[in-house]
């Protein structure tokens, strides 16, 4: 009884292997493919960059109704109503709002706070920032700076009406609160706040008839 062992060696050609990669077999073709894809990607990137780059997705796209609190990295504001006030120095857009400096333990000049309070006027895209601010209990005096952690109710924010816009053009205005960031001064002794392009939130305010002329 002889035990016969037979070893069968089956040679498979490269072309018969099930292809798992989409890359061509030929190294030269692979190199060409990678180069073309890379070049195409670079061109697309360059085109996007040439047209100003990608925009950050808005965290909040739809405006909120009056009475909604908007908060950024520095302060919170709750706008209630808007009207046009016509006085000796021309027309002014006014907004009644609660406002509080939350994220700072020292006072911040109104000029810096106001850079984040942007009023958007109608579909033309006109906007104006840095309102004058007065408080209800001291209506004739402007507020120079907001003190920390003091919630002020019924403050009046007031913007000069841009020259190319008249009150009758406007049915409503949008108050947009922009993000803020704190920068240190070079001497390390102080800091100041500037607004960013990010919008923390927007409230649409119909213009009402409160204005006295």
């Amino acid at each position: 009884m002889a035990l016969e062992l037979r070893l069968v060696v089956h040679h498979v050609r490269a072309a018969d292997i099930a292809r798992r990669s989409f890359l061509p077999v030929d190294p030269l073709a692979r190199f060409a493919l990678v180069s073309v894809v890379g070049a195409a990607g670079a061109i697309v990137t360059l085109i996007v960059a040439a047209f100003g780059g990608l925009d950050r997705a808005d965290s909040q796209t739809s405006p909120e109704p009056p009475g909604t609190e908007l908060e950024n990295e520095l302060f919170a504001v709750t706008p209630y109503e808007a009207w046009v006030e016509t006085g000796d120095d021309g027309a002014r857009l006014q907004v009644r709002a609660d406002i509080e400096l939350r994220a700072s333990d020292v006072s911040v000049p109104m000029f810096e706070v106001g850079s984040g309070l942007v009023l958007l006027l109608g579909p033309s895209g006109t906007s104006t920032d840095r309102p004058d601010v007065s408080f209800e209990r001291m209506p004739e005096s402007l507020v120079a700076s907001l003190q920390p952690h003091m919630a002020e109710e019924n403050a009046v924010l007031s913007w000069e009406m841009p020259e190319d816009i008249t009150a009758s053009d406007l049915g409503e205005v949008d108050l947009a609160v922009h993000g803020m960031q704190e920068l240190g001064t070079r001497d390390g002794l102080g800091s100041f706040w500037i607004s960013s392009d990010d919008v923390a939130g927007t409230v649409t305010l119909p213009l009402n008839e409160r204005g006295r002329s």
């Binding site: 333990d105 004739e140 005096s141 507020v143 920390p148 003091m150 390390g188 002794l189």
Partner: protein, 199 residues
């Protein structure tokens, strides 16, 4: 062998030396920060540029004063309380015009003088040697008053670099709001033998 040992030892010594010396370097803030002299109520706090003596402190919810045009206004309700810090201040060598005052709490929260009233003592012009008595005015939420200190800094040309600064601890003054409105009167020049803040 002993040579490399010596070199190694020297290197270690150098590194330790550098680490120790590093502790003595000042950050930028400390290099330029105002030079503070501290004191308490009722005693003159003498800095290089001025001396300051806090007389007393009043807290109230309403205030009578004059506005920046000099017209009488009031009583104005506080959003919180008004804090009047009565004090006497004397410039030592030069005329002082810009010496901002702050009310600084234990946790570092700091309140400025609101810009509404012209009679707050920080608006005065101080001639050398002539003591002025008046009040610094602040508006503060009542629950934020916690071991407050009055901090006055001489900042000529709005520059606080190494400015003379007096910090007066107002503790243990009990903040108790008065029922009657506080009255902010304009600063007055006080000369006479009763003055001890000009030394």
């Amino acid at each position: 062998m002993s040579r490399s040992l010596t070199a190694g030892l020297l290197c270690v010594l150098l590194v330790v030396g550098i680490a120790v010396l590093q502790h003595f370097t000042l950050d930028k803030k400390s290099l330029f920060a105002p030079v503070t002299t501290t004191g308490s109520v009722g005693e003159p706090v003498v800095t290089d540029d001025f001396s300051l003596e806090v007389v007393d402190l009043e807290v109230g919810s309403a205030l009578e004063a004059t506005d920046i045009l000099g017209d009488p206004i009031g009583p104005v309700e506080a959003n919180g309380v008004w804090v009047l810090v009565r004090a006497r201040i004397t410039a030592a060598h030069t005329t002082m015009t810009n010496f901002p005052a702050e009310l600084r709490m234990k946790d570092g929260t700091t309140y400025d003088v609101p810009g509404w009233f012209s009679d707050s003592l920080d608006r005065a012009t101080l001639s050398p040697g002539l003591p002025q008595e008046g009040a610094f005015l602040f508006e503060v939420p009542l629950d934020r008053i916690d071991e407050p200190a009055l901090v006055v800094t001489h900042a000529p040309d709005f520059n606080r670099y190494l400015g003379a600064q007096a910090s007066v601890a107002l503790d243990p003054v009990e903040p108790r709001p008065l029922d009657d409105p506080l009255v902010l009167l304009p600063p007055e020049v006080r000369t006479g033998k009763d003055n001890d803040a000009s030394e």
